[in-house]
């Protein structure tokens, strides 16, 4: 299993690089052998797509969620009827006499009874959500975290060079086209 994952990580580097190299070779071949225009389009597409994939996958190399070992608890292989919340773990488990009404898990579409540990009685009890005590999550997002008025005040004024940079880049594109057309 680990070997397969190591191979997968290798492919994530090798494949895009191979795509870029093949794209460049196709491009050279197109001009050298005077091939159909579709070859050139494929070459450009290969280079662009491979570059995007390389950029995307480069950051995730080494990421492997299965390496997270958060508890010694065994993961049940079959279907169980409950999810139990303890102060030090959350586990799916089979409970002989489940309490309360089931909740539906959106990850697998199945229903489970949810229990929480009553720390005083040291027994599992039915999990119940409290009513609002602090603040509405939407208000925290829109009024407190976004701070729209403050964002406007603190927005950095751009220099003339920064304001002109898209226009200068657009001008660069036009100049490049002129150079391509006139020199080839």
């Amino acid at each position: 299993m680990n070997k397969e994952k190591t191979n997968l990580r290798k492919y994530k580097i090798v494949l895009p690089i191979a795509g870029i190299v093949i794209g460049i070779l196709l491009g050279v071949l197109f001009f050298a052998a005077d091939l159909s225009g579709i070859v050139f389009v494929i070459a450009i597409l290969m280079i662009v797509v491979s570059s995007i994939l390389l950029k995307k996958w480069w950051g995730s190399i080494g990421d492997d969620e299965s390496r997270v070992i958060v508890t010694d608890e065994k993961v049940p292989s079959g279907r169980v009827n409950s999810m139990n919340i303890y102060p030090d773990k959350i586990v799916f488990d089979e409970v002989a006499e489940p309490k309360g009404q089931p909740w539906k898990c959106e990850n697998d579409g199945k229903s489970y009874f949810i229990h929480i540990l009553d720390e005083e009685a040291e027994l599992l009890k039915e999990f119940q959500l409290p009513d609002q005590a602090y603040m509405d999550p939407q208000l925290l997002a829109s009024r407190v975290l976004e701070l729209p008025a403050h964002r406007r005040i603190f927005r950095r004024k751009q220099t003339l060079l920064q304001q002109l940079s898209p226009m200068m880049a657009a001008l660069g594109v036009i100049i490049m086209w002129i150079i391509i057309i006139t020199t080839t």
Partner: protein
């Protein structure tokens, strides 16, 4: 700022909904809050994140193992085991029975946020993106030109 890169930090939240559904979902951690973004990257929902409230979850079926925090749709803090001490500092939770305690605590978050915005002072992101798109086009043009130049050399 990268055109394709994402600097988002993600945390797994066990989120309970009003309709008796629950879901294990990765949420973005933004300025010590777990947030949900809507259209145009606007924040539409946020809840306070405390490291002390993270609970180990060994995984189940296709849900990966991770440290999980509890959350629900009606409030910004869900701490059923009272792991977070009460207070007015940002690393504590306010006393819900004292009206001013919650207000002062929220005000501290807002003040903290104000300092963050002041320090970052964001620029117009769309102009930067547009510039990067044009730069990408210029690179493609350079490639085309290089191919053409090479082909002329071979001829």
């Amino acid at each position: 700022m990268g055109l394709f890169s994402s600097q988002k930090q993600l945390k797994t939240e066990l989120f309970f909904k009003d309709n008796r559904n629950f879901v294990f979902k990765k949420r973005e951690l933004y300025n010590s809050c777990l947030v949900e973004r809507g259209p145009e990257d606007k924040l539409i929902r946020a809840s306070k994140h405390f490291f002390s409230c993270e609970i180990p979850f060994p995984g189940y079926k296709r849900i990966p193992s991770d440290m999980v925090v509890l959350g629900f749709s009606r409030d910004i803090i869900l701490d059923p085991f009272n792991k977070v001490p009460q207070g007015i500092e940002l690393n504590t939770k306010p006393n819900p029975r004292e009206k001013n305690s919650v207000k002062n605590w929220i005000a501290k978050i807002a003040e903290n946020q104000r300092h963050i915005y002041r320090a970052k002072r964001e620029t117009h992101v769309w102009t930067n993106r547009l510039t990067w798109v044009f730069i990408a086009i210029i690179i493609v043009q350079l490639l085309i030109w290089a191919f053409a130049f090479l082909s002329q050399m071979y001829e």
